[in-house]
Structures are given as structure tokens and as C-alpha cells.
């Protein structure tokens, strides 16, 4: 058990954060977009993960926020990835993104940053079945017909259920630290729920997308729509 616990903690030290005490229980986010070399078919997936057939056809597997950022990027992609991310590991990429926010709006950064998340206790549970798709309200995703939205992680309290197959391929199919992106999304959303009373991760996704695009003007627009702070982002139990 000890090994499994350590392994689970290790896996989710790159993804999870502390659960929302008394807040939204099942967190949103945890979405990935899989795109294939031909029109999507159900047979490309099996038990929530990529099937053997899907593996022969898959062209990309991205965290949704990153997929949107890539779509909206006006510059030149490097090997079909946003420039500058492949050189970073999960942790350094997270620091870099938080630093971008600090540079743009330090006061807002103060309201949603919570470094204590990092010391919180999280447990990842590998699942070999299809996770329920938890859609954010108001999301209008118009994916091309060769792509499909999938749930890679579902949070229930301090437990993060993750699809083992998708998580392995998420790291294996790209040089971008995608697990770190999942974690960033969860960190931002946790703060958005606590500090701003958000009920979906839509604004959190917009913020992360804008930060990935390194677009200060868009970040400022998103911050305007975040609303007024209603409480702290950090709770005492985060420091467990």
C-alpha cells in the first residue's frame, strides 16, 4: 500500500490541489481533446482511453485549455506546439505562468494565488473505465469532426480519479508538460471558487488560455469578468 500511496501522490503532485472544503465538490475541468488523422469514430476509444485503433490514428492529445490556446495562437507554432513550453518541466511551467499573471496584475494575482495548495494532500486513483464527462455550463466548443472531447480527470473531494490510459498518453504524445497544465487549471479554478464564488471553470479556462498565449490585453479582459472577491483563496487546512 505504501508504494501505491507514494505513487499516487507522485502522479498527482503534478496535477492535483487541495480539495474544496465545503465548496463545489465535483470539480470541473480535467478535459482533454484528442484529434485524429480522420473523422472521429467511437472505436478510437475503449474504456475511456485510446484503443489500439485510436492509437494508430491519433495526431494530438491536449488539455482543453492548451488546445484552445493553440487554436487562437497568432504566431508560428513550433512542431505544432506553442513556443517555449517544451523546454519546461511541469513545475517550472506552472511558476512561469503564475509569474506572467503577476507581471500583468499583481493585485489580482494576490487574490487567487495560494502556494499552500502545493503542500495539500491529494490522492490520485487510476481508473481503467470511462470517466463521466463533466461539462462546464455555457461552454460552446465547436470541435472539428476529427476531434473528440474526453474526461481525463474527475475530482471528488481530495480524490482525483484519472483515466490511466489517457494520462499516460497525455505525457507521451507531446513534449509540452500537459500534466502541469491540468494542475494549473485546477489551482486556478479552486481559487476562483473560493475567492470569487465561481460555479464553473469557464473563466478559469479563459484565464489560463490567455496566459498561455501570453496576451496581457486578453488576460486583463478576463480578469474584469472574474467578478469581485468574496473570500480568501487559501484555507487553513491547505497547510496540512
Amino acid at each position: 500500500m505504501k508504494f501505491t500511496l507514494i505513487l499516487s501522490c507522485f502522479i498527482f503532485s503534478t496535477i492535483g490541489n487541495t480539495a474544496l472544503a465545503g465548496g463545489t465538490f465535483i470539480g470541473n475541468g480535467g478535459h482533454v481533446v484528442a484529434c485524429f488523422s480522420e473523422k472521429f469514430q467511437d472505436a478510437f476509444f475503449e474504456n475511456g482511453g485510446l484503443s489500439q485503433r485510436g492509437l494508430t490514428k491519433v495526431e494530438s492529445l491536449d488539455v482543453l485549455d492548451y488546445y484552445i490556446a493553440k487554436k487562437n495562437f497568432k504566431g508560428q507554432l513550433v512542431n505544432n506546439e506553442l513556443p517555449g513550453l517544451c523546454e519546461l518541466n511541469n513545475r517550472d511551467m506552472a511558476f512561469a505562468i503564475w509569474d506572467r499573471l503577476w507581471d500583468i496584475d499583481p493585485r489580482f494575482h494576490e487574490t487567487i494565488s495560494c502556494t499552500q495548495y502545493e503542500s495539500g494532500l491529494n490522492y490520485g486513483i487510476p481508473v481503467q473505465y470511462e470517466l463521466h464527462l463533466v461539462l462546464d455550463n455555457g461552454e460552446d466548443l465547436q470541435l472539428p469532426e476529427n476531434c473528440s472531447l474526453r474526461q481525463a480527470v474527475v475530482r471528488q473531494g481530495s480524490f482525483f480519479y484519472y483515466n490511466k490510459n489517457l494520462m499516460e498518453h497525455l505525457q507521451g504524445l507531446t513534449c509540452v508538460p500537459q500534466r502541469g497544465l491540468l494542475r494549473l487549471h485546477e489551482d486556478i479554478y479552486t481559487s476562483a471558487v473560493r475567492a470569487y464564488g465561481h460555479e464553473t471553470s469557464l473563466q478559469s479556462r479563459k484565464l489560463l488560455t490567455a496566459l498561455l498565449l501570453n496576451s496581457p490585453a486578453t488576460v486583463k479582459e478576463v480578469i474584469k469578468d472574474f467578478g469581485r472577491p468574496i473570500g480568501p483563496a487559501c484555507f487553513e487546512e491547505d497547510a496540512l
Binding site: 500511496l5 474544496l20 472544503a21 465538490f25 490522492y123 473505465y129 471528488q156 473531494g157 481530495s158 487546512e237
Partner: protein
């Protein structure tokens, strides 16, 4: 006819009641014919590969399964689960320990099939070769259980399985009454944590003491604010 009436009545009354469940898995995709009158059919019994409490099955998936229950009777296992909660939490234990709802199968109401209550809030699709079965539920002061499934569980599984059903049902009742929960997700996480920690007596080797109670602390922290410091299933007077 009596059975039909009982089923219809239960369908109405248990729709918002807490419930404990069992998972049955077979060596092929589930078919209706695998079940008969609340029990496994002959074919279902021949093809079943797993019959255990949903909490233990999830604990197996998460952390390799319940720990340190070997050799314990049902009652000892039941006491052990509660003792772990007492040892590793303090105020939280008091808020969950409702003395008025102790469950014993000997004093519960035996029934046939119970309508499935969708309160498990499982984060994933149940595998096609598996079926969740409602096994124990509460209506007012009565505990109602699927007698045939419980009998099978008692014969084919470890004694702890029945203890897990009892403890789950009691803790879920407390979670709904004292923490306002509407489904079993957090209670199940708590049960998974309790099943996988060190026994109350041992509390584990020193190098694991911090980590394993941490698993319990992480789940109890998600329960939200308690309405009362000491558990009670009595409704609050306005």
C-alpha cells in the same frame, strides 16, 4: 403480489434514503437473465466473478484493497472501521458517531430486490460486465436489506464485507443529517480511506503514521461544516 407491493412501496420511500451497495461482476457483459427475484439466477451464479461491497471494490482499485481485516469476524471488522475513525479523527468522529443508528442485520428487515438509488455518484461508467445492486437502505427507524444478496455475500466473501455495508450506511446517514450531503461520494471516499489505513491498534510503523492518517484527514476535510458537534439523526427543532 405482496412482493410487488413491497417493491413499489420501497421504490417510493427510499428514493431519498441513504443506501449501501454491492457490485457484482461477471465473466461477460451483464444480462438481465443473470438476476432473478432480487437474487442471482442460476446462470448469473455460474458466471459471477466478483461479489463485494462497492466500497471494498473501490478500495481495491485505489490502494490495493482493505488492509488488516484478515481473520476478523463481521462484528470485529465493523468495530475496527469505527475504531479507525475514532483513533485518527476526534471531533469529526463525534460528529459522525450517531449512537441511535447502529445497524445489525439480525434486527433489520429482510427484503427482496431493492430499487437502485442513484446516490453513489461514481465518477466513471460501471464496467459493462458489472452491475451495482442496492443492498441495504434505511427508512425511518427501519433498516431494509436484500436478504438473498446479503446471504450470498456472507457465504462467499470475507466477513468484513457485511461490516463495510453497515458502517457505510451509518456514516452516510450521519453525513446526510449532520453535513447535508446529498449523495454517497464523500462517504465512500472516507470509507476507502478507513479501509486502507493501519489498524486502530497498530497505527502502523512510524514511517507511515503521518501518511496514512493524512489520507483520512484529506477526506474528512471535504465533508464541509457540521451542523452539530455531536451526531444526531433527530431533526433540528426550528
Amino acid at each position: 403480489m405482496k412482493k410487488l407491493l413491497l417493491f413499489l412501496t420501497l421504490t417510493l420511500v427510499v428514493s431519498s434514503a441513504p443506501a449501501a451497495q454491492v457490485i457484482a461482476c461477471f465473466n461477460e457483459n451483464v444480462q438481465d437473465r443473470f438476476f432473478s427475484e432480487g437474487d442471482l439466477s442460476e446462470e448469473g451464479a455460474a458466471k459471477i466473478t466478483i461479489l463485494r461491497s462497492l466500497d471494498a471494490w473501490m478500495a481495491q482499485m485505489a490502494f490495493l484493497g482493505p488492509k488488516n481485516f484478515a481473520g476478523l469476524t463481521e462484528e470485529q471488522s465493523y468495530q475496527e472501521i469505527w475504531a479507525r475513525l475514532r483513533v485518527y479523527t476526534h471531533e469529526f468522529y463525534n460528529s459522525m458517531n450517531c449512537l441511535e443508528n447502529r445497524i445489525h442485520f439480525s434486527s433489520a428487515v429482510a427484503s427482496g430486490a431493492l430499487p437502485l438509488l442513484e446516490d453513489s455518484a461514481l465518477p466513471f461508467e460501471v464496467p459493462k460486465n458489472c452491475q451495482i445492486l442496492q443492498t441495504l437502505t434505511t427508512q425511518g427507524e427501519f433498516f431494509i436489506y436484500n436478504q438473498k444478496i446479503v446471504s450470498r455475500l456472507a457465504k462467499t466473501s470475507a466477513p468484513m464485507e457485511l461490516a463495510i455495508l453497515r458502517a457505510h450506511e451509518e456514516m452516510l446517514q450521519a453525513a446526510m443529517a449532520n453535513y447535508g450531503h446529498v449523495d454517497a461520494a464523500r462517504t465512500r471516499n472516507l470509507m476507502i480511506s478507513l479501509l486502507n489505513t493501519w489498524s486502530a491498534e497498530e497505527s502502523g510503523p512510524p514511517d507511515t503514521r503521518i501518511r496514512t492518517p493524512g489520507l483520512i484527514a484529506a477526506t474528512t476535510n471535504t465533508f464541509g461544516p457540521s451542523k452539530r458537534p455531536t451526531c444526531s439523526l433527530q431533526k433540528e427543532t426550528p
